[in-house]
Symmetry: C2
Subunit: 421 residues, 2 copies
């Protein structure tokens, strides 16, 4: 029904209604602006505000607020809850909240050793989640995407039982993605020039939804950004079989000149180190990637899910197994060398360890921080904070689903227009 939402709609965080200098604010864009203002006020208010509360907080008239709220309720973006507590004389007012059965976001993820799907409601809550562990490398991209579509069908059915209807879908991929959704390169999947919208968009489970495709670390970083971490500047590191990064600066995802930033796994650690799948040598992935880490620790991961393999590694580390401890120490040091270079270059003040690095953080952090202490110029007066991801291994798929609902929350007028209101 609403095909063709451009990719920029959900990918861009930075054009939220800023007017150009000297351009008059048109009547239509004023309504757009005010719809967004009311919705944001409800979303961030400490308790469900009444129409009068919103009028007082925004400076809009009560009549304007009432008309806007009616539109937002009609578009299933807001819902009324029981009267707010009386604060004075008069009839107690009805409170307003984001609709928990309004439009939802469908998040999908292809990674090297799993597929995932989730549905997030307008409040950002994860309502449904499915993960299928299996090595995707033996399969053709079309087959992998068909399996993703099956996950999408299953989770949509479950969500429908909760009266949740996705308004759009976003797919996270561990690779370089163009703004058209073409996966130029995903070295660890062995994908090259895979036209995801063509292969996935025609599947019955997804044909009725606008679909966007983005790098998994970017989506995970956005998920982390909006999960209430309170951080505006950080390097999010996604540790999987590949290692990606999402760079958040001043509250915005930094995508690079052409949208292909964040390939942290292919920053050289030792120029003449082992050959990498990307064709380079001595890339960070060769020192701190999940497979290398498990192999060096002597963990036989074949046939194990990544969660189980990583759990075995944490068990071994906890038991003081020398090979496990050495592998973690070396991976942490390699991460530290690379991140020190990133901090000297980019001046981020926080590093968030995501993916498999989150559960391994107790062992990775000491050698990592030692490298930062010895190599970061600003460390003496402005040390870098290293912390674990809030969302953990779900960050990318939750970030993907969140990007759909965030686009609606940021541009409610667009949603109302496409929803035919």
């Amino acid at each position: 029904m609403r095909r063709g939402g451009t990719r920029r709609d959900t990918r861009s965080d930075d054009n939220l209604g800023h007017t150009r200098p000297g351009r008059p604010v048109r009547q239509a864009s004023l309504r757009e602006h005010n719809l967004g203002l009311v919705l944001r006020h409800v979303a961030t208010a400490p308790r469900p505000p009444s129409r009068a509360d919103i009028a007082a907080a925004t400076g809009l008239t009560r009549a304007t607020v009432s008309a806007l709220v009616d539109d937002l309720i009609g578009g299933r973006l807001l819902a009324e809850v029981g009267p707010a507590p009386r604060t004075g004389a008069g009839r107690p007012a009805t409170g307003l909240v984001l609709a928990a059965d309004g439009p939802a976001g469908l998040g999908l993820e292809v990674n090297v050793d799993y597929l995932a799907a989730c549905v997030v409601d307008l409040t950002g809550a994860v309502r449904h989640r499915i993960v299928r562990r299996a090595d995707q490398r033996p399969h053709a991209p079309g087959d992998v995407l068909a399996a993703v579509a099956e996950l999408a069908a299953a989770i949509r059915e479950a969500a429908a039982a909760d009266r949740l209807a996705p308004a759009g879908a976003a797919l996270a991929v561990p690779g370089l993605v163009t703004t058209d959704g073409l996966v130029r390169l995903a070295p660890n999947l062995g994908w090259r020039d895979v036209d995801v919208p063509r292969l996935l968009g025609s599947h019955p489970a997804l044909a009725d939804l606008p679909l966007t495709v983005d790098n998994e670390a970017n989506l995970a970083a956005l998920g982390e950004l909006h999960a209430g971490s309170g951080l505006a500047n950080f390097l999010y590191i996604s540790g999987e079989i590949g290692i990606g990064a999402g760079i958040v600066l001043n509250g915005d995802l930094f995508r690079g000149a052409r949208g292909w930033s964040g390939e942290l796994g292919h920053v050289p650690v030792r120029p003449d180190g082992p050959t990498c799948r990307c064709g380079g040598r001595g890339c960070l992935e060769q020192y701190a990637g999940q497979e290398r880490l498990l192999r060096e620790a002597g963990i036989a991961a074949d046939g194990l899910s990544p969660d189980a393999a990583v759990a075995r590694l944490t068990d071994a580390a906890r038991a003081g197994n020398p090979a496990a401890l050495r592998a973690l120490r070396e991976a942490g040091a390699a991460l530290g060398v690379t991140i020190a270079g990133v901090v000297n270059l980019l001046d981020v003040d926080t590093v968030v360890l995501g993916g498999v690095y989150a559960p391994l953080a107790p062992w990775l952090r000491p050698p990592l921080e030692a490298e930062l202490a010895g190599r970061v110029l600003t460390n003496a007066w402005a040390p870098v904070t290293v912390r674990e991801s809030v969302l953990g291994g779900d960050a990318a798929v939750v970030g993907a689903a969140g990007s759909v609902v965030r686009a609606i929350r940021e541009h409610p007028a667009r949603w109302l227009a496409t929803a035919g209101r």
Copy 2:
């Protein structure tokens, strides 16, 4: 006369009159906006436009344009030139140009082995320039800054003979600078927590001017950006005794979370390489810094100016001297390894070689590009362009002076207000 211009005035490129959503455009800010519009039109017009040309191009009334132009002429920002060629009937109109004797920018630079000063007029032309070659490391920061102030006095006297009066001064320093102008750390100068505004701002040659302090690579990158290179996304590399970088993205300098981005010289090339002045090990400076390069090439640089030493190196390379060629090959490869990591992380599409790397580019580029070809993920379909700086060794000091006149050109109303008009 106009002390206390905040540092942000000239450092920030990104708040050029953008209105906040929903805020009405006030009458005063409308005039500000229109003054900027008229000035920009004159600055970028292919031939001196008349008042009528400006009215036609901007959509403002002729009366409004005339009033604005009168203000800009009164403030010495615009000047009239002979009548523009007749294009139709009627009296030929007077053309308008940026005033070549209007407010100017004073650029200053402290580097490890030289001091420099220059004066740039409102059109961006370099009108005066002084360089004093001498190793600054043996001197205390206060003495170095006193010598800079003497250069400033000398160049202001020369400029005054041309009726050029600096409206502000900007100092380029090879180190980490806070927004207050405090040099937190300049490893190659041995400076730590040097309060430049206090030490330099009270000198008679500078006491009457607003002073800003910034990192030299940042100012050089801004100089390159505004020198008409046409590039909106690039990594500018400043090769001196230290190696700095200015990162330009979407036409803006990218300063990092706290303003300390660009320390490319301290990105590790080999984690266990030689100890660096910063306390780290195996930093890029240890493989590609000017001193290392000359030493490896067997050039005795003592007593030579950097230009003369670098000229000796290019002579040796041209003559096929094996040590010189090997030193350049190794430096180029080390630069390539580091830049490959930067491109994989940040996705810049152009690298500009500045400082001593500009004259050495013929020898540095082949090994550098070989590393990029082997290590950059996007290289197959979107190769990185490596080119020499347009401004060469003057980029930082010219960029510093340019930052002063750019601030005036971007905010003419502010200039008119402070100039008492």
